[in-house]
């Protein structure tokens, strides 16, 4: 257990915990776009920056991304100094120039009083903020179907050669985790298309509703030993089946009691 001072208040935290986790627990509002508990922090978006200092090092202070700064005993943290606010505003301003059409960024900008970016709008912007959440989550799955391609300002998230990613299983984890919702996908009754790759969907044998892509089901069967039949019907039909099965048991029990 360590003690840290957050905005003047002494708070307890577990050793090794990341600062952002503690700040969130304390109910302090820290913006963070690239942070997600299911993936390792990487510090791409820089929004969760806070100022740290220590009583024993007079005059020393530093700005760190709280998402990957492990707490240390005696740390003094300030989350809303004018410098910290200036950093956040500038980053959001830059992102607004980069992603002018993103609702998430627009809303965040408005919260910081920015209604129009101070910079020139990036012409080829695709509203991706390059947080790598998608590539990181795909890596957790062990698939790494997509990756960051090129470098610097030309960097984009893309499948190899910009074509159908051979390793993609159509699970949608990337699209779902995306903080700015810029990974498009479409479902028909029996297919799903993402990253230009079209997948067959398993459709419920009783009602025909889509359940999951075949590739994802096969992946779960192989990786996590889930029986094939679990994927054959949709959740609603499975509930009905459960009701019927339980009903049978109840009926049998009642008949037996009579």
């Amino acid at each position: 257990m360590v003690h840290i001072t957050i905005n003047g208040k002494v708070v307890k935290a577990a050793e090794g915990e990341m600062l952002l986790t503690v700040l969130k627990r304390e109910g302090i509002d820290i913006p963070a776009l690239c942070h997600h508990e299911a993936i390792e922090p990487t510090g791409n978006c820089r929004l969760c920056m806070v100022e740290i200092s220590r009583a024993e090092w007079e005059g020393w202070k530093k700005h760190v991304t709280s998402c990957l700064y492990p707490v240390e005993d005696g740390l003094i943290v300030n989350t809303h100094t004018p410098e910290v606010i200036e950093i956040r505003k500038t980053i959001i301003d830059l992102q607004l120039a980069n992603c002018p059409d993103s609702d998430v960024i627009q809303k965040m900008a408005e919260e910081y009083g920015i209604y129009k970016t101070s910079y020139e709008t990036v012409p080829e912007g695709d509203n991706c903020i390059m947080c790598y959440a998608c590539t990181r989550i795909c890596e957790v799955l062990g698939k790494s179907a997509i990756s960051a391609v090129m470098r610097g300002h030309k960097k984009v998230i893309a499948p190899p050669f910009g074509e159908e990613p051979p390793d993609c299983i159509g699970c949608l984890a990337c699209a779902q985790i995306c903080p700015t919702n810029v990974i498009p996908w479409t479902d028909t009754d029996s297919t799903r298309t993402i990253w230009k790759k079209t997948f067959d969907l398993i459709t419920c044998t009783s009602c025909g509703k889509a359940v999951i892509t075949k590739d994802f089901a096969e992946y779960l069967m192989a990786q996590r030993q889930i029986p094939k039949e679990y994927f054959e019907t949709c959740d609603e039909c499975k509930r009905m089946a459960t009701a019927r099965k339980m009903g049978e048991i109840v009926t049998k029990a009642q008949e037996a009691a009579l």
């Binding site: 508990e37 299911a38 699970c171 984890a173 779902q176 398993i202 779960l220 959740d235 339980m246 109840v250």
Partner: protein, 135 residues
């Protein structure tokens, strides 16, 4: 596990009070959530409240690639850590009883969490068809 959730179908009259209680217990920003419990008719006028059985070797837990589903040893519930969930829907597809659900209203995956130890459904069930008790 110190507690057990018991369903007594013979007492269920299909009044759907549990469904309502569940939705309100999981309201966010005054919007009721999707119910995690459904009294379903298996025969005319015969009902079974279908909800998560908190299976020992739960398929939902096994299917989650991101460790977002973990058992609460205190309440016995398999709880979903929303911070770790990416909404891939593996658990929804994998649960053999159809008890992991997609909540379109709040755009999240939901499943019964036994309300953290005091399930609203059991509290409101007028016929005591749902019982949460210490073992």
């Amino acid at each position: 596990m110190k507690y057990q959730f018991e369903v007594i179908p013979s007492k269920c009259i299909g009044c759907r009070t549990c469904e309502l209680a569940c939705a309100f217990a999981h309201a966010q920003n005054q919007k009721p959530g999707k119910s995690r419990i459904y009294p379903l008719a298996y025969a005319p006028d015969k009902y079974v409240p279908v909800t998560c059985l908190q299976c020992d070797d739960a398929a939902c837990v096994k299917s989650c690639m991101f460790n977002a589903l973990r058992r609460n040893e205190e309440t016995g519930a398999v709880e979903l850590d929303k911070e770790r969930c990416v909404k891939c829907g593996a658990c929804v597809a994998a649960c053999p009883f159809g008890c992991a659900l997609i909540d379109d209203v709040h755009d999240e995956i939901v499943k019964c969490d036994l309300c953290g130890g005091s399930p609203a459904c059991a509290a409101f069930c007028p016929t005591k068809a749902l019982v949460y008790k210490r073992v």
